[in-house]
């Protein structure tokens, strides 16, 4: 009898453990802001979080809650296009297509990708930049662009590139591709997918944005902001002595298109498009500045918290006064504003 009681107790205890585990729900409210959480390198736990301005509520792990499994990837970037989220899984060589309403998985592209970084699209055509094959000493060779047909989510073409491809920007039938291991930007014609021009910049050009005058700004990891005129593909001006992040740069522009925000060290710096010298000091500083976004009069900063735990998102006014904050996933590296 003693034994039977004991066994019963053990079985009960294990049932209790299982019973305590379950409580998933889908996303419960609309999200004004989607936070992209890159994920911890050793756990590949990239995720997306949603934030609502009115309720000030945040929901983490939106994709996992909707699909019952996680991305399981390092997420370098997410692009919203035609009501869908295109999620670039950098560790898994994946482009994951997610429904913009309910976060359900719509498709996964897994072919012809090698350490992808960024996605942009025009019409029915998507482009993905790939770092290429990683060598044992952490260099990248055989960089390329992947061209995707968005109606069928299939790869239509691979375009060889001269060097590690990073940032992508489409403007007036042209695709601009930064090569973050050199000092060049390739310009492609999107009808022919051929390189039509190569622009020389400072070393290690990375992130790009377009200003209100239709000029392209490039943040270079070597510490420079370069303004390019896409009508001539010539450099207009170069602002040196910029404090940059060092790699995988983050650069955004306000809605008016006249003020840049970017990460330098653990600070957020800002620069007007007519400025000619680098800003001397940052607007705000956090523990580990990792992501930046600008939405109207709100500045969003993703803090990776020393890479040692879940990230924090801080919301500031444009003078840099903190308004609120919330906890998000690991390494918040960007924002999408709906």
């Amino acid at each position: 009898m003693k034994q039977i009681k004991l066994y019963a107790l053990l079985i009960f205890a294990s049932l209790f453990a299982v019973a305590c585990g379950d409580d998933d729900e889908g996303p419960s409210f609309s999200h004004d802001v989607v936070v992209i959480n890159e994920g911890n390198f050793s756990a590949a736990d990239g995720s997306i979080s949603g934030y609502n301005y009115e309720t000030e509520k945040v929901e983490n792990g939106l994709f996992e809650a909707a699909n019952d499994f996680e991305f399981g990837a390092i997420i370098q970037s997410v692009t919203k296009y035609n009501g869908k989220y295109y999620v670039v899984g950098n560790s898994t060589d994946e482009l994951v297509v997610v429904n913009g309403e309910d976060y359900l998985l719509e498709g996964t592209i897994t072919t012809d990708l090698a350490i992808p970084y960024k996605f942009v699209a025009v019409g029915n055509k998507g482009y993905i930049s790939n770092w290429g094959t990683q060598t044992p000493d952490y260099k990248y060779v055989d960089a390329f662009l992947t061209v995707v047909d968005l109606s069928s989510n299939t790869v239509t073409k691979k375009i060889d590139m001269p060097s590690k491809t990073q940032g992508l920007l489409i403007f007036e039938e042209k695709l601009y591709v930064t090569h973050s291991a050199s000092n060049t930007i390739s310009v492609l014609d999107i009808d022919t997918d051929k390189v039509v021009e190569t622009i020389e910049t400072e070393e290690r050009p990375d992130a790009m944005v377009l200003d209100k005058n239709n000029k392209i700004w490039v943040l270079c990891s070597s510490g420079a902001l370069v303004q390019i005129d896409p009508s001539t593909n010539k450099v207009i001006k170069t602002i040196k002595e910029i404090t940059a992040f060092g790699y995988n740069e983050k650069l955004v522009i306000n809605e008016a298109g006249d003020r840049l925000y970017f990460i330098g060290g653990n600070e957020i710096f800002t620069l007007g498009i007519d400025d000619t010298v680098a800003p001397e000091k940052g607007l705000v500083e956090v523990t580990t500045a990792y992501g930046v976004g600008i939405n109207g009069d709100k500045l969003f900063v993703g803090d990776a918290n020393a890479y040692s735990g879940p990230g924090t998102v801080y919301i500031y006014d444009l003078e840099g006064n903190e308004q609120s904050s919330f906890t998000t996933g690991f390494l918040p590296n960007g924002f999408i504003f709906n």
């Binding site: 003693k2 034994q3 004991l6 066994y7 107790l9 053990l10 205890a13 294990s14 209790f16 453990a17 299982v18 305590c20 585990g21 911890n40 050793s42 756990a43 590949a44 736990d45 792990g61 996992e64 699909n67 019952d68 499994f69 996680e70 991305f71 399981g72 990837a73 390092i74 899984g89 560790s91 898994t92 060589d93 994946e94 994951v96 998985l105 996964t108 897994t110 090698a114 350490i115 094959t133 990683q134 044992p136 000493d137 523990t287 580990t288 803090d303 918290n305 020393a306 890479y307 040692s308 735990g309 879940p310 990230g311 924090t312 906890t327 996933g329 690991f330």
Partner: protein
């Protein structure tokens, strides 16, 4: 007779316990008797379990990580199949379990941890799991528990030979050799082993709705143990043991990452020599050890080399019929040549300890104390007080209270940049009670503990680099409940045993903004674990099933990882001709093909198979 069965230990202990009892009843220790792990008789009020010989047989071609995770309450955190596997014992961290090889702590002096995937199971003769805090006995880091790997001299057994071959799934095969000769004065024992595996198992990726194949997880390891033991006289012995192990492996990346080609080589040489002299004056032991560890990460992108020279002397005496004392000192000189330190670092660590055992009638009491001295900082004095009462039929009650510590690792102190020379040792208090009921076929154990750890060292980012600090405060409590039952139906013998463990380990303080772990269970420490084992034999047939269930675990980001259960099954037959025996066994691991991970996004294999053939002479 009942009194001789004095610890509520489930498995095959009786032999050693008998010896221990005999010895303590006589005032003079005439013969040198080496029994079990060093200082075992001074462990009062706590549970020590020797790993069952049939478990060792079942996992003889596997590593300690695989065996412990299926058969004991400890949780192994593995970065994949046969990848870096660190332990969590009673809910504590990876460097809160002391791992001792013939009495020498073999936790890496640089990281303070042992990678249990680097310890092939058959490299140790005896494996003991000592539950609970015991720094006074086992030194620094013995907070959750201690694992003891031991060799045991034998005399007059003649010649024994054993050859083993294993083939298994994922292109794995293993080979083992044992040659052992002993007469009344000498023993020469050689063990050699080799195992390699492509380890290219498939795992499911839900986001792709398909399985993919592991492409960077192959491993090869080999090594040998050499023992030379000499019995000079009935009161003197000289023992020598050398253990060499080399492991080359590709490092399994996170799921779906097919670009990664990281690899690592680990190589260790461990030497232990001891001289035992037992006379009317007392029992002296002098032990000399040398531990050399080499780690080459990713084609020399980071190399870690350490050497430790250990000298230990101890003296033991039966002061009276009831009272026995042992006292000793140990000196450990460490030399570390680590890429991350800038230049070579030396550290000297001294331990001085006294162990006291009092036994009278149904009572046993232990008082142990250890002081550890390291140049540059002071460790807390680590005493323990324990009592055991055996006065009620078949039932034993245990109590232990102790203060324990863990000293900073060399990485904590010397890593450049970040190393922090002003770190204090971690400081911990433990109190536990236990109850054991033992009868012929049935045994039952319950141990309940509470533990407080202060000055827990964690690395945080302070400026542009990381640095360790005594920041974390942890409160742990839990219990282990075990039972075993043996029964025979004619020729069929069955033995089944359960262990259920509950460990609640909580962070008491926030260490940074956004620290969501406060008040919650520590990451990767399951609250609930259950293991069940059924062993059966009938004539020359033998079989064994091991089942383990692991409850929900939090990830570092406070996500929840699903509970899982694993079933390992073995069936074998013994063929015997005179002194020749063949054991042929088939083994199915993860019978239910359970998908599971021990760390987030680090796949583990589904159902897989092993066929083992072992030839024994004698």
């Amino acid at each position: 007779m009942r009194k001789t069965i004095f610890l509520g230990i489930i498995f095959c202990w009786c032999f050693q316990i008998g010896i221990a009892q005999e010895q303590s009843d006589s005032l003079l220790l005439n013969d040198v008797i080496i029994y079990g792990i060093p200082n075992k008789s001074y462990i009062v009020g706590q549970k020590v379990v020797e790993v069952d010989s049939s478990q060792k047989e079942m996992y003889r071609f596997n590593t300690l990580a695989e065996m412990l995770s299926v058969t004991t309450p400890v949780y192994l955190k593995s970065y994949g199949n046969n990848m870096l596997s660190t332990i969590s014992f009673r809910g504590t961290g990876a460097n809160h379990t002391a791992v001792l090889w013939n009495g020498f702590n073999i936790n890496s002096p640089t990281s303070g941890q042992t990678d249990f995937s680097l310890i092939p199971l058959n490299s140790a003769d005896e494996i003991y799991v000592h539950y609970g805090s015991a720094s006074a006995l086992a030194g620094s880091g013995a907070l959750g528990g201690s694992i003891h790997l031991n060799s045991q001299p034998e005399w007059g057994k003649g010649y024994k030979l054993s050859l083993g071959q294993s083939v298994g799934s994922f292109g794995s095969n293993g080979t083992q050799l044992l040659s052992d000769y002993s007469d009344d004065h000498w023993q020469f024992k050689t063990k050699a082993y080799y195992k390699q595996s492509d380890n290219d198992f498939e795992y499911y990726m839900p986001i792709r709705k398909t399985e993919i194949k592991q492409n960077n997880a192959a491993y090869t390891y080999f090594g040998f143990n050499q023992e030379i033991n000499h019995k000079i006289s009935s009161s003197q012995q000289l023992l020598f043991n050398a253990w060499f192990n080399n492991n080359d492996r590709e490092l399994q990346p996170t799921n779906g990452n097919l670009n990664n080609n990281d690899e690592q080589q680990d190589r260790s040489l461990r030497l232990a020599a001891s001289y035992h002299n037992n006379s009317k004056v007392g029992y002296f032991i002098y032990r000399l050890g040398y531990l050399n560890d080499y780690l080459n990460y990713n084609r020399s992108s980071s190399i870690t080399k350490t050497g430790q020279l250990l000298n230990a002397i101890s003296y033991e005496k039966n002061v009276s019929k009831y009272f026995r004392v042992k006292s000793g000192v140990m000196w450990n000189h460490i030399n570390a040549d680590v890429d991350g330190y800038g230049d070579d670092k030396q550290e000297d660590r001294y331990d001085i300890y006294a162990l006291m055992l009092y036994k009278e009638g149904d009572w046993e009491a232990g008082f142990n104390v250890r002081q550890n001295i390291v140049s540059g900082y002071n460790s807390p004095l680590a005493p323990s007080v324990s009592v055991a009462y055996l006065g009620i039929d078949n039932i034993k009650f245990d109590f232990q209270a102790s203060r324990n510590y863990r000293i900073p690792t060399l990485n904590d102190r010397y890593w450049d940049p970040g190393g922090n020379l002003s770190l204090k040792p971690e400081d911990s208090y433990n109190v536990e009670v236990g109850m054991a009921y033992t009868e012929k076929r049935f045994s039952f154990n319950l141990n309940v503990y509470k533990m407080w750890v202060e000055d827990w060292i964690i690395w945080i980012q302070e400026s542009s680099y990381w640095t360790p600090n005594n920041l974390r405060k942890v409160h742990a409590q839990g219990l282990e409940l075990s039972a075993s039952y043996g029964v025979s139906f004619g020729k069929l013998n069955l033995k089944s045993s359960f262990i259920y463990s509950y460990n609640q380990t909580e962070n008491v303080d926030a260490v940074s903004a956004g620290d969501v772990t406060v008040g919650h269970q520590l990451a990767y420490t399951p609250k609930h674990r259950l293991t069940y084992s059924l062993q059966a034999n009938r004539g020359s047939w033998y079989g064994q099933a091991n089942v383990q269930y692991t409850g929900m675990r939090y990830t570092v980001g406070h996500g929840e990882m699903d509970p899982f259960g694993i079933i390992d099954l073995q069936l074998g037959k013994r063929f015997k001709w005179n002194e020749h025996t063949f054991n042929l066994a088939g083994k199915i691991n993860n019978l239910a093909d359970q998908e599971y991970v021990l760390l987030e996004n680090r796949a583990m294999p589904g159902v897989n198979y092993e066929l083992n053939l072992v030839y024994n002479f004698k």
